[in-house]
Symmetry: C2
Subunit: 128 residues, 2 copies
DNA sequence: CAACATTTCTACGCTTCGTAGAAATTCCAA
DNA sequence: TTGGAATTTCTACGAAGCGTAGAAATGTTG
């Protein structure tokens, strides 16, 4: 149960972008001023969703374990459970984990990594 | 459009396991003798699906680009387009690709890789 | 308390997937 | 060649996930 819908992904992107926990209302506004495909030009308004829609999505994300909600404060505040990088790395491990031939997969994987990334990997694997 | 359903995955696993292209009927039989969770014990028969069911799934997999079909032979024959390792590596790249902070993701990623895999990676990244 | 804000419940339409019957097509044996 | 058998295509249905949001319940504040 890992994949996200389009709106769910947009919400997560915004949560990952803003360090602080946000309310459903704030999230609604953020979504309105974001086309997703962030081009430099003036993005069209990206229509205003109903707050209940945003709440539904946030609840679903909470159920999926991606979002954490502060129930204490009155307008509840939501934030991502883990950073985008952590989440993505986790996803990669999930994908890799389902394979019986992990090493073969890794071989193919690094076969198509940019040189700068390869360098990063070398550094990270360097000593040990 | 990358994720697979349960049956779709079972079919792909069998296609990946058998080098040769197989017919829908063969696939039906293979599915019948496979519980997925391959424990050593006598797996229960894994019910016989209708051939049309198998054909539907194979067609859907073909549409997704995961399966290739030989239309020449009369009982059409189906096979995986790419190896499981290739496919999985591709999936990993897909996951990684959607991240703006690729290097950060990679850092987290190799942070939780087994030592033997780390060794494999070092070897593969060795020269260059 | 009353009006307002916030959250929860319920629901509907769309898409995907498991599942397969019905219909169309193709092939082989007599 | 023709008719039954095998094969493929078409169509469909139910369940689940997601976008979407109204209605109802609940909490807040003046």
């Amino acid at each position: 149960m890992a994949s996200l819908g389009e709106l769910e992904r947009a919400v997560m992107d915004l949560l990952w972008a803003s360090q602080e926990a946000v309310t459903a209302n704030t999230m609604r506004d953020l979504l309105a001023h974001n086309t997703g495909t962030d081009d430099g030009a003036a993005a069209h308004p990206g229509k205003e969703l109903a707050v209940t829609t945003v709440l539904t999505v946030l609840s679903r994300l909470e159920k999926k374990g991606l979002v954490e909600r502060e129930r204490g404060t009155r307008p509840h505040r939501y934030q991502a459970v883990s950073s985008r990088a952590d989440h993505t790395a986790e996803l990669m491990h999930e994908v890799l984990g389902s394979a019986p031939d992990r090493e073969a997969v890794l071989a193919r994987f690094i076969g198509s990594v940019t040189e700068s990334e390869a360098a990063t990997l070398r550094k990270l694997l360097g000593q040990s």
